[in-house]
């Protein structure tokens, strides 16, 4: 007695079965491709998420001059900004902040620089990556001019003063009284 229930109930003719299999298979392959695409979509999603939340200290790119015009300095608050520097293995440079700490008022444009030199006997190319701790503060740290995220080449023995112009936007949460801005110079290997 064939209990006719949900699909799969009766044995259909072979051709019909082949068609049903093909349809479901194609649907499933499309689902697989969709999830493959989703894997790639996670990259921009993740980066946007990090910029919005400051996760991992990502600050977002430099801001334009228009942002400066709208600034309202808040002299009643002072935030201590610390600067650190790291040279990653593979690069022979020396790399130091001009100021280890600065006391700044939110909304005030401030400039400082990093001192970089290449004491080795051959030219080297590096690229600096920056981040901010605590991560929550990252999106309030605005760069007007920065040497980070682009490649810099120093000839043997060359010295450079790399400029950083920034401000801290006045929206920075009240409980954050000090932040640390960290720069790391990575060697750039030329891919051919």
């Amino acid at each position: 007695m064939a209990g006719r229930t949900v699909s799969g109930g009766d044995a259909p003719a072979p051709e019909a079965t082949g068609g049903r299999h093909r349809r479901l298979t194609i649907i499933l392959v499309l689902v697989v491709l969709g999830f493959f695409g989703f894997g790639f979509a996670l990259v921009p999603l993740y980066n946007t998420f990090c910029k919005l939340t400051g996760l991992n200290g990502k600050t977002g790119g430099p801001v334009g001059a228009s942002a400066v015009a709208a600034l309202k300095p808040n002299d009643s608050r002072t935030v201590k900004v610390g600067f650190t520097s790291t040279v990653m293995p593979g690069l022979n440079w020396t790399f130091k902040p001009l100021h280890e700490h600065m006391m700044v008022h939110p909304g005030t444009v401030t400039s400082t620089s990093y001192l970089v030199s290449n004491p080795s006997d051959h030219p080297e190319t590096g690229q600096a990556i920056m981040s901010v701790v605590p991560g929550r503060a990252a999106r309030y740290f605005k760069k007007l001019q920065c040497f980070c995220f682009h490649q810099e080449t120093l000839k043997a023995g060359q010295f450079r003063n790399m400029k950083l112009v920034y401000f801290i936007s006045s929206g920075i949460p009240k409980d954050i009284s000090s932040i640390i801005v960290s720069y790391a110079f990575f060697p750039v290997k030329k891919h051919t």
Binding site: M1, R4, T5, H21, L24, L28, L42, L55, I129, F186
Partner: protein, 529 residues
Amino acid sequence: MNAAHAHDAHHDEHPRGISRWLFTTNHKDIGRLYIGFSVIMFLVGGVLAMLIRTELLRPTLMIPPEIYNQIITVHGLVMVFAAVMPATTGLANYLIPMMIGAPDMALPRLNNWGFWLLPPAALLLVMPFFLMLFGIGNGAIDTGWTMYAPLSVQGGMGVDFAIFAIYLMAMSSLLSSINVIVTIFNMRAPGMSMMKMPVFVWSWLITAFLLIAVFPPLVAGVTMLFADRHFGTHFFNAAGGGDPVLWEHLFWFFGHPEVYILLLPTAGILPHILSTFSRKPIYGYKAQVYSFWAIGALSVVVWAHHMFTSGMPVGAQLYFMYSTMAISIPVAILFFCWFATIWQGSMTFETPMLFALGYIVLFGVGGLTGLVLSDAVADQQYHNSYFLVAHFHYALFGGPVMGIIAATYYYLPKITGRMFNETVGKWHFWQTMVGFNLTFIPQFFLGIAGMPRRIPDYALQFAHLNMLSSIGAYILGSAQLLLVYNLIQVMRGVGKKATAQVWEGARGLEFTVPSPPPYHTFETQPVVQ
């Protein structure tokens, strides 16, 4: 239920010799190929485990550290991808058509491909070891099976071999998942409604959905990794503004569901075994099916509990902690159903039942210690310590591997037509239990005391516990040879002939056909009432 009897001799004809196995599209042949392959890879992974424990036997360096890293990495990858996954896939191929009354899998030719992609994948994983012996390259992948950036971005060619192995294994798993879903949706016998399907079939349906959802993102991830390594992109490479933590997210988005992909099929087979040997029907069929769904759904939203120490806002830590803890609810329901199934049954303790009960005990410890690790605060101490190693071995060996062994003993007489040697089976069980606990209980204490994982050498105060653990590992490792002995014996045709029902309390369509089943089962579909 009335099974199909219409089998004239003609239907049993099939090619012999090597071409039978190379070109087979028969679900039982493919199932057996998977299981055989898995046994071999368990031995490979096991030998690597013995090497690890030999290095850790005493606090000295015997194996060079960089080779040690390759050994633990390949051990992990082989066990997860080449031993456990093929074993559960083999069971699926062999059992699902018989359990739902279908003549074969829906896509038999893809099925053949699905299997034959695996041996080359396994070869890719271990080949760099041998290439190194001939002075080519610097050995196998050495990043740990998690392949974290930046190590995996900087690593040697072993990483590339592993990436290609993952491509092949992903292709294989995706083909078999699609096959399982199409078979289950389209080929059930008349009357076999979804909610009448055996629990094992349900568990595999969820497993297949999970595989389809999480393997492709991993493939996308290793593709980005490959691009970072060779084409100068910066997905994970901090030097170019990429983010190594992104890899962790991509990996664990796959990696956490993966542990349920390993576990679910064995959680599905367990009630069948428990019910057979307690001579009672399975308790809480619906509750178990819904729990599978709940576990499957939750497993894709908890991944970052592996990243509590990677830097995460407090809110995210809390979310991943509570969502992880929530998974223990459907899992506890499964435990409850298992207990209720054997409760007051007339139990007998044949080998499959022993391993099934062992599963409950060991996986229970794995689950409870997992609850400890899911505490975001406690995990700051336990993360990447030997406590973690002990935990996931209770979860992965105690669950999937014990389940696979139980299922192997349970279905061995069905597959081969011969009863195995019970005495050897019982020895196998007790030696496994003693060896396993002796190996991994000391590791909990080592972890709490601060011994980190993935190191070839350790401080002197850890010496005694490590010695115990290594001795346990030798007991555990050698116990598995008893299973190999039993397998060889039944394959040689030694042992009592098995009846169609095999076990006195066994139910289900697969126990209505002779043992071994004819080459083609159910050419006329059975009808389920």
